[in-house]
């Protein structure tokens, strides 16, 4: 992907495919929640019945992943592609998708980690092909937002952010 590209546009059809994939992952593993994040920490979409602060969760999980990547570099490892965080009640399994997205599943002690690993691998493969389509179909901003979006946004920012 062009590193100078400043935005990633995820079309409706792809978002629906991601939601379906996350829903299957939650159902098949018996997990409580699955999230797909961009590596910058923004939540693309989530599925499940958790009542957590998803935005904060996304920022923290992406931070953990980015931090582990720096640890990997210090150990001359390319990446840690999977992370597992184990609590008394809740566990989190996190997997990287093509250096761009992060898949995260939250599950409790009733679910076996082996099952989560296998099904997450299947889901990451599916999501990697969705990401590939998103990258290749990259639409122009104006096509999605409309040509007057920027002016409207600037007016809104002027109105809101006054000292």
């Amino acid at each position: 992907m062009d590193p100078q590209l400043t935005s990633l546009i995820v079309p409706t059809e792809e978002v629906m495919q991601i939601e379906e994939c996350l829903m299957h992952l939650v159902e098949d593993t018996g997990g409580s929640h699955a999230l797909l994040l961009d590596k910058s920490g923004q939540v693309i979409t989530s599925q499940g019945d958790g009542n957590q602060d998803i935005t904060a969760l996304g920022a923290l999980i992406a931070g953990t992943f980015a931090s582990s990547r720096e640890v990997a570099k210090l150990l001359r490892e390319k990446d840690f592609r999977m992370l597992f965080q184990q609590g008394v009640r809740e566990n989190i399994f996190i997997a990287l998708i093509e250096e761009q997205w992060i898949l995260c599943i939250i599950f409790n002690k009733g679910t076996h980690i082996g099952l989560v690993k296998v099904l997450t691998k299947k889901a990451t493969d599916e999501l990697a092909s969705v990401l590939d389509r998103v990258r290749h179909q990259h639409k122009q901003r104006d096509e999605v937002l409309g040509s007057s979006f920027r002016t409207s946004m600037e007016d809104t920012i002027d109105l809101l952010f006054r000292d």
Binding site: K39, A59, E70, M153, D163
Partner: protein
């Protein structure tokens, strides 16, 4: 990289406050959090800090600007830990940023730290395979309220010279060293009391939106 979710009609942008330690990055976010304007929806200010309240990993503040042309626009504001020790953590937080506010400490004794931090920022952006000269950056000269202190020196030839030993450097001097080509918009601020905080946020928000 900003994220545009067409199905949910959402836009997400990431702005990182970068700069030397104790420069006022967290104070910027605290003021934005305390005085979030009507019409915006703020989330919880999340801080991961040391026992002495220095930033350990990052501060995070989600700010929802409401609907614009049918799209909900969310700005995610982060700070990096400024202390030298945490250089790798700064790389991690900077990952995927759409714009940076560089918070410079105006004090004379902090000039070298400002320059070192700016150099490090340029290196970290370049490592993300982005061109630093094209990357959205806004400068904030913070702590403008600290009065300058001068000392008179007698040079070997007997002439007397006044030298600034403490307090905020004049803006022209900061420009000369930090922004010599005047390529970045810069704002004077006293973040602790909120002066210049929203002005800076307004500039970086517009810059990021212009690059979408």
């Amino acid at each position: 990289m900003a994220l545009i979710n067409v199905a949910a009609r959402e836009i997400h942008c990431k702005v990182v406050y970068y700069g030397p330690g104790m420069g006022g990055k967290t104070s910027n976010l605290q003021h934005i959090h305390n005085r979030a304007p009507d019409g915006t929806k703020k989330g919880k200010l999340l801080s991961i800090e040391t026992e002495t309240e220095r930033t350990l990993f990052f501060d995070f503040l989600p700010l929802d600007l409401g609907k614009v042309r049918g799209f909900d626009t969310h700005f995610h504001l982060y700070t990096v830990p400024g202390q030298g020790l945490y250089d790798r953590t700064r790389v991690a937080v900077l990952n995927g940023a759409d714009g940076v506010v560089f918070v410079a400490d105006s004090q004379v004794q902090k000039l070298q730290e400002n320059l070192a931090s700016l150099k490090e920022l340029a290196m970290n952006i370049t490592r993300q395979n982005k061109k630093f000269q094209d990357f959205p950056v806004v400068l904030q000269y913070n702590k403008r309220d600290i009065q300058p202190v001068y000392e008179e020196q007698v040079l070997p030839d007997g002439t007397r010279r006044r030298r600034q030993v403490a307090g905020a450097l004049p803006v022209a001097v900061l420009d000369k060293y930090i922004n010599p080509k005047m390529q970045w918009q810069r704002f004077e601020a006293v973040a602790m009391r909120g002066d210049g905080v929203f002005e800076t946020l307004r500039a970086i928000s517009k810059l990021v939106i212009s690059k979408l």
